[in-house]
């Protein structure tokens, strides 16, 4: 009995050290990224002072093909496309791919934009599911719609790439809309530096905002708590996560909701994978792996000011499904490109960002959830005292709050998009409250995603239940 108790003591002691070390290392990384992002934003912001002045086009802006894969998006697609068509940019085209929707997506598009079948010389550079028809809008010359058999988001994006005409491609989710000047901003890096192959923009939460004529009329916060917590999550993910890694030249994620890529490079690496749920991240990681393998000089950049707004889930079921899908996508992206990790020319991406993503983002939920569970079990079995249990929980929550509040601070230093005092109070509340349950729940969902990836359960388009509130508000205003 005494031998057993000595073993348990060691187990408890080892666990406490293990989880503590994990928290120290992850906090060290996150705080480091936060500081990098802070300095980068501080250096970047003064350069924006003249950006709000009326802009003159230089004529050197590279033309862009905006690619919008759509699957059962009848609720929000019209508002999204309207906003795309009004973007302030000299030359661009919009290509929507209806990926075998079972709702009326194609019908609403056909009616709203006066689509007619068009004999397009479609060239299948990337292999995709069968294209059924290509339409061109008679009201907007730069709008085309491709109807195809269902093949997933990656397959739809590849179809759009095949049909695209311009050297830059911009993937945008069908439930998102871009800020009017966002294309102009996101192409700067391509014009400044020939080595740039991809640029990611910020994605923000559209729930609670009001859209008028396809554009953001009023910024607001969602009334729903789940959506409110996601506002903070998105700030954390974009403002310090991606910005920090971008500065360090280790950006592994460019959101499919708003990313611009050089088409020739995407074609060279084989386009998007159609059998993954995280096609956006997978493409970026594969680009890193293959470009580094070929010893090409390249850069992938994240910019905080070009913004796309997207609707986030407001119910547990949809959110759970989304997070499971994201985690699966992360696992697929990393394990499908293990060659990047510690590769000879891996650089920051292969030697720092990849291992970080693998340990803290991919396997992190396993460690986090097991930590909470073990601590609770130890307490229940009376192996740790109540104060010690509380201290460990206190450390975990303290770090969580620090990270959330520091991302809010970054937002306040830079863009302060949420401009009403009640917004800031709401965000401060969310930054604290999301650590008391939401984050832990999220870790559980991500752990489920990890298991589903391990046990090979396939996940489809991962369709989200759309409320399309901002589109409805627009309709009301129109009416």
């Amino acid at each position: 009995m005494s031998e057993l108790s000595i073993d348990w003591h060691q187990v408890v002691s080892f666990s406490e050290w293990f989880y503590l070390s994990y928290f120290v290392v992850i906090s060290f990384f996150y705080i480091g990224l936060n500081l990098v992002a802070l300095f980068s934003l501080k250096a970047y912001m003064p350069n924006k002072v003249l950006d709000e002045l009326p802009q003159i086009y230089s004529g050197l802006e590279p033309p862009i093909s905006i690619l919008i894969p759509a699957y059962n998006e009848q609720e929000t697609i019209i508002a999204s496309i309207q906003s795309m068509l009004q973007l302030s940019y000299p030359v661009f085209e919009v290509i929507i791919v209806n990926d075998g929707s079972s709702d009326h997506t194609l019908d609403v598009l056909r009616t709203h934009f006066d689509l007619l079948p068009f004999p397009e010389a479609y060239y299948e550079r990337l292999k995709t599911k069968k294209v059924l028809d290509i339409y061109r809008s008679t009201t907007h010359q730069n709008l085309r719609v491709i109807d195809k058999e269902n093949g997933g988001k990656g397959d739809a994006l590849n179809t759009a790439i095949n049909a695209s005409r311009y050297p830059l491609i911009c993937s945008v989710d069908a439930d998102s809309f871009l800020q009017r000047n966002s294309l102009q901003r996101i192409t700067y890096p391509f014009m400044e530096d020939q080595r740039v192959v991809a640029v990611g923009g910020t994605v923000r939460v559209a729930n609670g905002c009001t859209v008028k004529n396809g554009f953001l009329a009023e910024i607001g916060l969602p009334g729903n708590f789940l959506a409110l917590f996601q506002v903070i999550e998105y700030l954390r993910a974009f403002l310090f996560g991606r910005l920090g890694w971008s500065v360090l030249d280790g950006l592994l994620v460019i959101s499919g909701a708003f990313g611009v890529f050089r088409k020739d490079v995407v074609l060279d690496v084989g386009g998007f994978l159609s059998d993954t749920v995280g096609e956006d991240m997978e493409l970026v990681v594969r680009m890193h792996r293959l470009l580094r393998k070929k010893k090409k000089k390249y850069r992938m950049v994240f910019l905080a000011d070009p913004v796309a707004w997207t609707e986030v889930p407001e119910d547990f079921k949809t959110l759970k499904s989304q997070r499971i899908r994201w985690q699966r996508g992360l696992c697929e992206s990393l394990f499908g490109n293990m060659g990047l990790m510690f590769s000879r020319n891996g650089g920051v991406a292969g030697w720092l960002a990849f291992p970080f993503m693998l340990i803290f983002e991919c396997l992190g939920p396993l460690i986090e959830v097991s930590g909470y569970v073990l601590m609770a079990i130890f307490y229940w079995l009376d192996y740790i005292s109540w104060p010690v249990f509380l201290i460990f929980i206190f450390a975990a929550i303290g770090i969580g709050m620090l990270l959330s509040l520091s991302s809010l601070l970054l937002e306040e230093i830079s863009f302060h998009i949420y401009n009403k005092p009640k917004h800031i109070l709401g965000l401060l509340f969310a930054a604290v409250a999301e650590n008391l349950g939401f984050r832990q729940l999220n870790s559980i969902w991500r752990l489920l995603g990890l298991f589903r990836w391990l046990f090979g359960k396939k996940h489809g388009w991962g369709h989200m239940k759309r409320k399309g509130k901002w589109q409805k508000q627009q309709d009301i205003q129109k009416g």
Partner: protein, 353 residues
């Protein structure tokens, strides 16, 4: 078993991690609140001020008699910002009226001071404003800004100098346009677009004379020639069309072909198999080709590159002897399915237009 004591190292570390992060989180929270209060107060003041300043500027543009604007030191950048805004969107007499108002109320010395002693943002605003004002007295200080490490600040100063006196700016700015590889081509293009013809001519001459030395960077600069509004053949273009082997450079030269006398040189590149060169050749032939080029364009219709086929089809369709029936006949005669599809697309595009 015994509990881990509160004094155990791991517990102490966990406690301090929790305590320090909570303290830092609290500091962040207070900082956010404090920054927001400061921002609200600043914006409230700024909003009131901006409205007054806008009204004043509109009265100036309307030619009404106005009193000297009340501009506190902290409001000067806001005032100038609005003033620049109107300068950028207005043309003709209104711009002159805006400049006269600044001159009449003796605001230049304050702007000059901002240029020298202001923050980075204030220097950007002041340089832009002084450029619009054509302020010769700021010349030396603007030249000093050209040496600043920030490419944005130096190119803003360059734009101001070209606006103030393009002839005098040539000697300083032209070598810098070639040397400063951190100057964004888009901003250089805007300088060229807005500069007077004299400056553009000087840029062309400078580029032609220094082309050999600048060859590695020539491509970047040749893109800018699009804005030089060429109407005469360039010896630079002729030279690289005859001898160039870099496909990107040859393609850039083909973009600059503007005179029928250069057509033979273009035809001399018919053997070039690089797709970017072929696209540009098709573009040139679409603009000024003759019936003798149709055969070459037809051969491009079989290219494996979509853009080559597209431009070749576009060029063919734009030729004067090509009506809809002729294109249809041509399409039927093609054995290659991609060539046929492309011609059909061209017919549809013609109908759509």
């Amino acid at each position: 078993m015994g509990y881990a004591a509160l004094s155990d190292t791991r517990v102490v570390i966990a406690f301090w991690i929790g305590a320090i992060s909570t303290l830092l989180a609290a500091i962040c929270l207070l900082e956010v609140i404090w920054m927001r209060i400061a921002l609200v107060l600043k914006e409230r003041h700024s909003h009131r001020y901006v409205n007054t300043a806008k009204l004043w500027i509109i009265q100036v543009i309307a030619g009404e008699a106005v009193e000297a604007p009340k501009i506190a030191k902290r409001d000067l950048p806001d005032f100038l910002y609005i003033w620049i805004h109107y300068q950028e969107i207005l043309r003709g007499d209104s711009k002159t009226l805006l400049n006269q108002a600044i001159h009449r109320f003796k605001l230049e010395p304050r702007i000059r001071k901002l240029l020298v002693k202001g923050s980075f943002e204030e220097q950007l605003i002041a340089a832009t404003a002084l450029g619009h004002l054509g302020d010769v007295q700021s010349w030396d200080n603007l030249v000093k800004l050209l040496r600043k490490p920030s490419p944005l600040l130096s190119i803003t100063a360059a734009r101001a100098l070209v606006t103030i006196d393009s002839a005098k700016a040539c000697n300083i700015i032209l070598p810098l346009m070639i040397e400063h590889r951190d100057w964004m081509p888009a901003r250089l293009a805007i300088i060229l677009k807005q500069a007077d013809p004299f400056f553009r001519e000087a840029f062309l001459t400078y580029l032609e004379s220094s082309a050999q030395q600048q060859q590695p960077y020539l491509l970047r600069l040749m893109r800018l020639l699009d804005f030089a509004q060429l109407n005469q053949p360039l010896s630079l273009v002729r030279h690289y069309l005859m001898t160039g082997s870099d496909p990107d450079l040859v393609a850039a030269c083909l973009r600059l072909v503007c005179h029928p006398s250069e057509l033979d040189l273009v035809r001399s590149r018919f053997g070039d198999e690089h797709w970017s060169v072929q696209v540009q050749i098709a573009g040139v032939l679409g603009r000024m080709g003759t019936s003798q080029d149709a055969h070459y364009l037809l051969s491009l219709l079989n290219s494996r590159f979509w853009w080559v086929r597209y431009r070749a089809a576009q060029a063919l369709v734009s030729m004067p002897f090509m009506n809809r029936q002729a294109i249809k006949r041509l399409s039927k005669s093609r054995s290659d399915i991609f060539a046929r599809d492309m011609l059909l697309q061209m017919i549809a595009e013609k109908v759509h237009r």
